[in-house]
């Protein structure tokens, strides 16, 4: 921690948040909000005079509320930067200043009640997100009595009680009477591996070994202490883990396979009585303990959504960040130039976090050392011959990469290639078909549509899937071997925003019974908000089909994320059933109607062209 604080190459922004991220790989523009600290961190010598005079005492978050801190405080003695901070929510008030005692005693005059948030802009080539995790709050497991009984604590609270730097200076005492307990129990998997709707279904990875460690600390501090661990499975799978587990057993820690169903407190002694079925012996056991530690699980960061959206990262169903590939690209985010490290990706211990962080740093170094990177040639281009200067493309572009056209001057728009990310929403919205998406051209996609609805079209479900989410969701279904009907025929586009009305109408004209458009959930869209255009376009298409007397439910829309292999397979199964309901007569009728419609449009075009020619003549 100290190293990073004094490293000449590291600029530290504490008490700060990332407010905005724009740009692309190699060229990110980041806005950081440095929140007001009210204490000049450079000048503060951490002399603690201010805290001595501060009249406000509030529970100390760092000590899990076991002790108090002042409104002006240092989070913990080794904090980096080593400076005080004034919490304005706790302060008696600065406007008007009601107290002002701390400023009076500060010899260096580094307290400033008028300190303001500051916005800093930086330019970076790569981003590593390591926003971490939160711990599970066991309140909803009411049978353990965490909120009712003083002597039931969480594993985080245990850490503070056993720590020499903690509120009790390392004396492990129980909250009710401040006596050192001799009989201590641990309940595992609190909020983890749960199927009953409370807590989370996944294994939190670290709690088994954390409890093993805790029992060893207890045995070390208080030889002869009686510790019992109630578990469903002990998972000691890492290097050196089994040794620790065995050591704990040798020290006399009892491991009971069975999760207590119920905890009651003896009102006299404040001891805790547990009833548990020992699943090894099959017998119901009762245990009396002086103190109980709930081994709480790990949950995704509760305030992590804003960063996730800024970086357009997807999350798995449990709320952790989705990596680019679970085996081959475990620290890369799907967006180029962004990497993931630590518990933001999944619950992990210190060693795994360090490993992943070094891996992320190494991956980031590849880009930084090269000093340049190639961008996929999938950007858009304007066909100036076809453009009629309507300006829709500029409006659609999520990246403002298209400069507005000028109708009066007949000036077509220009596209800033470096800013274009290749979603193709502009090409799909352009009424003149005047925008060409390199490598995802209309002709290329139309050719796929035609090829896929050529044989037995009446049986198949034509699916458009975006590269990032739905296509990857299909991959996810494959990796998990989730079986679904063979009827789907899939076309990949970079974004669902690329799916032009004419692709869908052409598929119906060729005899497709059903078309599915699928893309990222709104929050996951890799092109900021290109997916909004997909939804608007779908509304238009449904109205169009309705007008032509075509069943609207033959065109379906689903948002499927990269992690939703299950949903992908489910949608495929449901839509297969719906494909069966589309009759041959219906398809024939659609073909006829759309052919007529096309002929009409052609005639209109010709007439218009003729009229235009006459005018110019």
């Amino acid at each position: 921690m100290m190293d990073v604080g004094r490293h000449p190459k590291v600029e530290l922004f504490t008490n700060s948040e990332v407010e905005n991220v724009t740009g692309f790989v190699g060229n990110f523009n980041v806005t950081i909000r440095k929140k007001a600290r009210y204490v000049d961190a450079n000048e503060c010598t951490a002399c603690a005079e201010c805290a001595k005079v501060c009249p406000v005492a509030v529970p100390d978050e760092y000590q899990q509320g076991f002790s108090s801190r002042k409104a002006i405080y240092m989070p913990f003695p080794q904090a980096v930067p080593s400076a005080y901070i004034l919490n304005m929510d706790n302060c008696l008030g600065n406007n008007p200043i009601a107290c002002g005692k701390c400023a009076d005693v500060c010899e260096k005059h580094c307290i400033n009640y008028d300190d303001q948030d500051e916005l800093v802009n930086i330019e970076v080539g790569v981003v590593i997100t390591a926003t971490g995790m939160d711990v599970y709050d066991p309140t909803e497991y009411d049978e353990y009595g965490y909120t009712r009984f003083d002597n039931v604590i969480t594993s985080m609270e245990f850490e503070r009680l056993i720590c020499a730097g903690g509120p009790t200076e390392g004396h492990f005492i129980r909250p009710s009477d401040r006596k050192i307990p001799q009989k201590i129990g641990f309940i595992q998997c609190v909020g983890s591996r749960s199927q009953d709707g409370r807590g989370n279904p996944y294994c939190s990875n670290i709690c088994c070994m954390n409890t093993v460690k805790d029992t060893l600390l207890l045995c070390d501090h208080y030889p002869g202490v009686e510790a019992k661990v109630f578990y469903m499975d002990m998972r000691a799978f890492g290097k050196g883990f089994e040794d620790l587990y065995m050591r704990s057993k040798e020290e006399g820690v009892k491991y009971v396979r069975g999760i207590p169903g119920d905890v009651v407190e003896d009102p006299e002694t404040r001891n805790l009585l547990l009833t548990v079925e020992n699943t090894t012996t099959g017998k119901l056991e009762k245990h009396e303990l002086e103190m109980l530690v709930l081994s709480q699980g790990v949950i995704p960061r509760q305030d992590g959504d804003s960063i996730r959206k800024l970086l357009t990262l997807s999350q798995t169903s449990d709320g952790f960040i989705m990596e680019s590939h679970p085996k081959l690209k475990p620290v890369d985010a799907p967006t180029k130039g962004i990497f993931i490290a630590g518990c933001v990706e999944s619950p992990k211990d210190v060693k795994d976090s360090v490993t992943q962080a070094s891996a992320a740093a190494a991956r980031a170094s590849i880009l930084l050392n090269a000093g340049k990177t190639k961008i996929e040639a999938i950007t858009s281009q304007v066909d100036t011959e076809l453009c009629n200067f309507c300006g829709i493309c500029a409006k659609v572009c999520p990246y403002n990469a298209i400069s507005a056209s000028d109708r009066k001057a007949e000036k077509p728009p220009t596209i800033i290639a470096a800013a274009c990310a290749g979603c193709g929403a502009c090409a799909a919205e352009c009424p003149q078909d005047a925008i060409l998406m390199r490598h995802f051209r209309d002709e290329q996609i139309m050719a796929q549509v035609e090829a896929l609805v050529k044989d037995d079209p009446e049986k198949h479900l034509l699916t458009f899937a975006c590269n990032w989410c739905s296509y990857a969701g299909g991959d996810n279904a494959g990796t998990a071997r989730l079986q679904y009907p063979t009827s789907s025929r899939l076309i990949r586009t970079m974004c669902s925003g690329r799916v032009d009305e004419k692709f869908v109408m052409h598929a119906f004209k060729m005899g497709a019974p059903m078309v599915l458009v699928s893309g990222c959930h709104f929050a996951d869209c890799h092109y900021i908000n290109a997916v909004h255009w997909t939804q608007k376009r779908m509304d238009r298409l449904w109205n169009k089909l309705d007008k032509l007397g075509i069943r609207v439910d033959r065109l379906q829309l689903e948002w499927i994320s990269a992690a939703e292999g299950q949903k992908f397979a489910k949608v495929m199964r449901e839509l297969e059933e719906r494909v069966q309901t589309v009759t041959d007569e219906e398809i024939e009728h659609t073909k006829k109607v759309l052919a007529e419609e096309e002929a009409k449009a052609e005639a209109k075009k010709k007439k218009k062209a003729k009229a235009g020619a006459e005018v110019s003549a």
Binding site: W542, N543, D553, L555, L557
Partner: protein, 50 residues
Amino acid sequence: MAPKQVRFKCLMCGHEYDGMYDHENVTERSCPKCRSNSIRRLPDAKVAKS
């Protein structure tokens, strides 16, 4: 354009419901009944008729 009340119809299960629609700020739709995302915003004329 201010957000307005519109009628949505799920094309998967047929469920119809009213919701707010903001032309400028489109939000993700999913059927409160079957979770499908095939939610059609019915045109005003159609709503008036039915």
